[in-house]
């Protein structure tokens, strides 16, 4: 299992479009990917678009991303880079 924390910089947070981009990015990943905002007690399967949108992640939220599965070693750095590039 791999995990990293990321603090959202985008002033609009993870709304519809960024949520869609995230889900598309990890759609083909074998690992289970979950995102959580521990301070709010929310979490979601990052492959489920509506669940990701429902978290309504805001600027300044610390998102904990967990990648668990056979391809986690290769996928985790890619997902972390995606967060840095997009959120």
């Amino acid at each position: 299992m791999k995990t990293f924390d990321y603090t959202v910089k985008d002033e609009l947070g993870i709304h519809a479009r960024p949520a869609g981009l995230l889900v598309k990015q990890i759609a083909g990943v074998r690992s289970n990917v979950t995102i959580a905002v521990k301070a709010k007690g929310t979490s979601a399967d990052a492959k489920r678009l509506m669940a990701v949108m429902k978290m309504a992640v805001k600027q300044g939220d610390v998102v904990t991303v967990t990648i668990d599965g056979e391809d986690e070693d290769t996928i985790a750095p890619q997902i972390e880079q995606f967060f840095k590039d997009n959120f």
């Binding site: 519809a16 479009r17 869609g20 678009l49 509506m50 949108m53 429902k54």
Partner: protein, 180 residues
């Protein structure tokens, strides 16, 4: 990709047959009605790749002629965006629906939108969800087209939008056919 190609072919057959197909599928289909008055267009015509390229799912879009968004189905508000520019619903038959009012309108941060329902509310088809000031949004330079996206498109064998029609709220605009 295969699914998309089929849809394109069906579209070329002409819209007059769509209604017949909708009737044939009635038994195990979820038929969503228009959330707004206006004209339906193919979602690929929406000038925003997030919608046009299907990143959020398949669907349809409405060029609105009114200022109110109504529920397209009996269901539950899964998320009323606090900015009021979008709403997610789950129909009682399981369709996950995003209604997004205008393009890039998240940046209005709630201006020109007024919500009438909250996250978690049960709604009936045709109930008022959101009012928006179409002219004010347009005056600020935003496209007011309303994409209606099926976020769990993969759950369906066939998603059939009724494009190129003038619609009133409550008119059927998209048929979702589940696998048998």
């Amino acid at each position: 990709m295969i699914k998309y190609t089929i849809n394109m072919q069906q579209k070329r057959r002409g819209s007059e047959k769509v209604g017949i197909f909708s009737k044939l599928f009635k038994d195990n289909a979820d038929i969503l009605t228009s959330p707004a008055a206006g004209r339906t267009i193919d979602i690929s015509e929406v000038p925003d790749p997030t919608f046009a390229e299907g990143i959020l799912g398949q669907g349809i879009a409405i060029i609105p002629s009114g200022d109110t968004v109504y529920s397209p189905c009996d269901g539950t508000i899964d998320l009323m965006f606090d900015t009021g520019h979008a709403v997610n619903l789950i129909s009682d038959k399981g369709a996950e629906i995003l209604i997004h009012i205008g393009l890039e309108t998240v940046s209005l941060k709630g201006r020109h939108f007024r919500t009438f329902m909250n996250t978690g509310d049960k709604v009936k088809k045709g109930e008022k969800l959101i009012e928006f000031d179409r002219q004010a949004i347009a005056d600020e330079g935003f496209n007011t087209v309303i994409p209606v996206v099926i976020c769990n498109s993969d759950a369906y064998d066939d998603i059939r939008p009724e494009t190129g029609k003038d619609v009133m709220p409550g008119d059927p605009i998209i048929t979702l056919k589940e696998p048998k």
